[in-house]
Symmetry: C2
Subunit: 423 residues, 2 copies
Amino acid sequence: MQIGLLGLGTVGTGVVELLENNKDVIAKRINDHINVKKVLVKDLNKKRTPLVEGKITDKFEDILNDDNISVIVEVMGGEEPALSYIKEALKRGKHVVTANKEVIAKHGRELFELSAENDVNLFFEASVAGGIPIIKPMKECLSANKIVKIMGILNGTTNYILSQMTEQEKSFDEALKEAQLEGYAESDPTDDIKGYDAARKLAILSSIAFNTRITSDQVYTEGIDSVSKADIQYAREMGQVIKLIALGKKHEDSVEVSVTPVLLPKDHPLASVSGSFNAIMAEGNAVGPVMFYGLGAGKMPTASAVVADIMETVRNNNCSKFNCTCFDNLEVMDPGQACSSFYIRLLVVDKPGVLAKIAGAFSQYQISLSKVFQKNTINGTAEIVIVTYDVPFENLKRALDQMKDYDEVEEISTVIRVEGEQN
Amino acid sequence: MQIGLLGLGTVGTGVVELLENNKDVIAKRINDHINVKKVLVKDLNKKRTPLVEGKITDKFEDILNDDNISVIVEVMGGEEPALSYIKEALKRGKHVVTANKEVIAKHGRELFELSAENDVNLFFEASVAGGIPIIKPMKECLSANKIVKIMGILNGTTNYILSQMTEQEKSFDEALKEAQLEGYAESDPTDDIKGYDAARKLAILSSIAFNTRITSDQVYTEGIDSVSKADIQYAREMGQVIKLIALGKKHEDSVEVSVTPVLLPKDHPLASVSGSFNAIMAEGNAVGPVMFYGLGAGKMPTASAVVADIMETVRNNNCSKFNCTCFDNLEVMDPGQACSSFYIRLLVVDKPGVLAKIAGAFSQYQISLSKVFQKNTINGTAEIVIVTYDVPFENLKRALDQMKDYDEVEEISTVIRVEGEQN
């Protein structure tokens, strides 16, 4: 399958790299090879990844007129010339994959009509929430539901700023400056701060959720620049956090769409979505609430969605059925060899030297300990809680078997795995 | 599209009801109608929903031999006769949709080979995590990734019990009894408590994630019956919670698969998944971590996944392209009419009667208040924070405009929407 790529910025480069790095699994999963045949760039002289050597052009026509190219991938962003290029491609009967939220949110209706007329795919998973699967799951996996509500954190920049204001008690200006230094915010952050970026994504999501065309200009939008430290403090006192929430709600025969700061209860699933993460909650009349969570932007997460759409286009094009994808034959690891940190609780006779003897048994099997505490001595019996660093399960079992024979060890009560760094 | 349904228990009845309740959107979304033509039941005399009147049979052959039935939906559960029926159906060239985790986890390889030989679909989204979209998102949306790790809470019963032990400080036995009373646990809870149910689901998920066939008997499995109140208490002291975690990890050329209790840091995305909810975290080499969250069981959530698979089969069968799904033309609600609870912070002159005057303005526009507190009086200026009950945005704006004219009101600092019941 030959594809033409429009744009070689962060996302475009990510797409080229991902197609190369994962080419083996990608080919096996779709029984076809994806080859980037031509890449459209503005400046032919700029230094590019060697992966596109001999493929770059500054003329769209070179790609449009290449009959071997059946999929055009638009990752240049912005309204024009992206919009015109996409239209041209669809009219020529080429499938289109795009990451362009602006074009889809503003001109979706026209573009989908074009794709239908020419019987080609127009996929846009990457246009909302980067690598998080949301468009396809809503269109397909939840398609038996009437969606009554969607609620999302769709902009990483504003969520990072609000998280900084909440967790680090920074002011809006301090948090914004930090976001810019960290590369989470543009030098001109207006689109993010004012909620325009989230509004575009909400327009796309609610069009799908409610089966009616909604454009970004129809979304009532407030930014986060009015949120102060004091508000975040009062929210905390009320057990709540402030998030920039994109809301779509189905009413009898109308749809409510807004992007505004919202106070959420601390235990709300969206309340714990912090930093540059995104999340979307959709509520269906059958499935109830479902949430999708992940990185909403960035080079490789966005490329992940773009390449998945390319693969889907190949499948549709070949009209291939979905069968078993177990093309590898990997060994299942012996549980004894699996490494983990462990929590151990044991009851011992409370007398001098016991702890040393137990620690000795652990070290004998190369098990280092990250936490040890002794408590609740009740008539001569002490409870010892130990957390180890990562060790093979086998070594731990050997050490525990040995301890069982110690007169001082009355009982090994519990052994539970521990996730996350021990330190 | 004519379908045959095998089984009319909780899930089967849910499927029939969902196909009826949402038939309008379902038909519009796939440009086809789904009709349940025949339903296989054990007992012909048992009382059934009127929706299946004249459709029930106790002979599988009646469905198998009906050439108008092209999709067979297996929701009877258990290994046999479900397995034999699915095989028969595939051999006859009928598409199969199943919710049967036991059959897929144990006999997946054989069944997928059969479906490939006969060029028909075998879909099983409902076999893992009920209504949560996970099989299709992993197979398709994340297909550009090498999945390095999956981690999930795949059993609602054990998660409910552990949540009760953690939040209500109940013992394991107390929590189990309550789960049985609430209908979250079977009278014989062995399959859940011992982790066997989660192991089957993990076998299915890791087969997809790592593209290698894994059966439930290869999963190292520990239950939660060894977890005591004391352990949960110690975990809390270390800032962690205990969850029954299904883990799949890709190593150089082997796969690690286990279902065991695990201590997780309180701020881990899976730590806040409580009660009967399920969640799956998948980590791809491009997309990073993504999480899917929702109800992992129950009549309608499971039916939601089954019906989505039926719809997908219809689409594949018609090999129809995915185009615009905006078949409705709904009005976008005027933001002024949208109702919400609001948080308002204002600065006023600190003198008697001010609060009364402000409260008066709110009541004049039928706005009732759920919280009012005054604080931080600094040289004559007091800060007042108010939270309203649900009101139309328009009314609030009118009330605030009126207050702006009060001499006592120095500034209306912030107005932010509030999500969740106010009381």
